[in-house]
């Protein structure tokens, strides 16, 4: 595949943007990324979004945003893979540039979720699961993840408090991210006493929804020999893999086989091993997912993911820093935008722009975005080069 670089990044804070429309928050991220890249035009726009038909009554989001960004007559399309939509849009943009068809591609992840009631949003999020065989039974999306977490605790002997470090680490890092939704530290006591959502997942195991948008500009690497004042960031690895859509259909619901497959292919493509990853933005929609993702990607043995948290190896000074900008847990989880936030945050790390949560000397970073309960998993490896 032809080498591709990321020339610019942009984001808008994750928040309840009641004063801004879907159009405005997506536009903010696009314009920020274009300004960061020093460009005024692009050839194509790939938009990752999950909920706009259900929440905003708006489809055709590619053209909706290309129009708003003044990209008339350019290519545009929307890509959807539930909560994995953001990274899927990035991958679509990557393939367009790598194919030689497109020279300057914008990948945008955008989601506006807070315009509807919590009940409506919960129902909308359930469309990520299998409508015929899961949702039909009355299970919600958090309910599905709760079943997985409960089984994991039973099989591997962990207690609920053992998952606390994932949320505590994410919140501690979010304090230093101006784009994070929950910029406040939490304690173990708060974690243990927070309100139950779906046993054993409580409020501080779960990521908050939000409105948000993040974008990146992809170009052929050969066109970016050097950008003054900052390193060139290459897309070194990219892979997407799927599992069954329904959790109950899996041979082993406690192993993210799609994460294993997509990480394996991304490592191969980038020519790196897990040991070489300096920073890892993983998909901690629920604390259990941090454990499963770390295991599937080769950072922990099966059933031992929580140990990395308990031993402080996930901190920015640890062996595998995760959620360095707050993760889904504290930066927030505007579902179709999340994958692009992760990629943008990894690039901020590679550029050394992360202040108190900067991973010293980071040159290789990984972002992993998950659609559904482990059904669609995209892994991207970015590196300075």
């Amino acid at each position: 595949m032809k080498p591709v670089a990321v020339l610019g990044i942009g984001q808008t804070p994750v928040d309840e943007h009641w004063d801004k429309s879907l159009r405005e928050i997506g536009g903010e991220a696009i314009f920020a990324a274009m300004a960061d890249a020093g460009l005024e035009k692009a050839d194509a726009l790939y938009v990752g979004n999950m909920l706009s038909p259900l929440v905003s009554g708006q489809n055709q989001l590619g053209t909706f945003f290309s129009d708003w960004a003044g990209l008339w007559h350019k290519e545009a399309m929307k890509v959807e893979a539930a909560c994995g939509s953001g990274a899927a849009a990035f991958r679509a943009a990557l393939m367009a540039v790598a194919s030689g068809e497109v020279d300057v591609a914008i990948a945008l992840g955008v989601e506006k979720m807070t315009d509807k009631s919590g009940h409506d949003v919960t129902a909308a999020l359930a469309t990520a699961a299998d409508a015929d065989y899961e949702v039909e039974q009355g299970v919600s999306f958090v309910g599905l993840n709760a079943l997985v977490m409960r089984r994991y605790m039973y099989e591997h002997g962990w207690k609920h408090a053992d998952f606390a470090p994932f949320s505590i680490n994410a919140h501690a890092n979010a304090v230093h991210n101006p784009n994070a939704r929950l910029r406040e530290k939490i304690t173990l006591e708060q974690f243990e006493k927070s309100a139950m959502v779906a046993t054993p997942i409580n409020l501080l195991d779960a990521s908050p929804i939000g409105d948000g948008a993040a974008a990146a500009i992809l170009v052929p690497a050969e066109k970016v020999k050097s950008v003054p004042g900052r390193p060139r960031v290459l897309v070194a690895g990219s892979a997407s893999a799927t599992d069954t859509i329904a959790v109950h259909s899996r041979r082993d619901p406690l192993f993210l086989s799609a994460a294993y497959q997509s990480a394996k292919r991304a490592y191969q493509m980038a020519g790196v091993t897990p040991e070489e990853i300096d920073v890892f933005e993983l998909h901690d929609a629920f604390s259990i997912m941090s454990a499963l993702s770390l295991e599937a990607c080769g950072f922990a043995e099966r059933g031992q993911g929580p140990r990395l948290g308990l031993e402080n190896e996930i901190a920015v000074t640890g062996r595998i820093p995760i959620c360095t900008r707050g993760g889904l847990k504290a930066r927030g989880h505007p579902v179709g935008a999340t994958g692009m936030y992760q990629i943008v945050e990894v690039i901020q790390q590679l550029r050394g722009e992360c202040g108190p949560t900067q991973v010293e000397g980071a040159t290789i970073g990984m972002a992993q975005n998950i659609g559904g309960s482990g059904a669609t998993i995209l892994t991207h490896i970015l590196k300075i080069g």
Copy 2:
């Protein structure tokens, strides 16, 4: 761009499939295309769909179908561009193969529309338009097209009956297509007397909705030196272009500038002129769109599209045969699937499989798929080579 060939095609009849689920009709098209290609595996699946979140409560359709097709651990994503979703999925598959990332890609267009009431489907289709500035005013999708048709008739002096040949031709051709929804001829008198939908668009100006799915298998051209018994079909041209999403924002609402741009780029890429196109499957969602598409793509002067119908140049024996399998008007318009039906039908023509509506000696065909009221337009040129 690396040359890409279409190795197999498949489709399910457009109908009211009350006895089959979304999963089943999409699966039928995938399995038919795989069988046609003589393959049992694929590396990636790109699914075009517009309405499943709203009609079926199902998102993440890429993985939904990769699971059903047994493509576990493979890549899958959904692509959406309103009624242009089908061709957008084909283009995503094309870029994946052209980039070298994917060897065997399935492009699927699928839509299940008849499980909801007409009122619900009309509301769902309106999500193709601008929710804030068009739908908010109470206009429906057919209403928007009616405004365009009325203005066109006023500007260019055509009367309603002048559009009849488009519908009469489509219905006459559909009689010979076992996958068409409306396999019956219509007369000028029926056309003129049919029930009004949104003045001046009546029932026989408008395409019927339906459930349907069509698929194609894309592979690097170099891997298909020759297929016994049939010609190799190459993707010679592919382009996507956009306009403003709202019709009222356009400088000239009677000119499909996105069709002009995408056709121009597809012609350039394929190295052909409009005169060399043997068959053209265009997006006749409403009769006015046939006229506008023919004009924008270089087959008629501005305002003169209806003349091609009146002079019988759109018949299979005419200068530019259109809707040779029934078009949207009579094959039916399962919105997110339509673009894939068009591509599959062009390939049937190039293979000489169209019986009484075969265009003799067809070697180059074009398919044009439109999302929204001319907002997203994808043009593909296929040729024997």
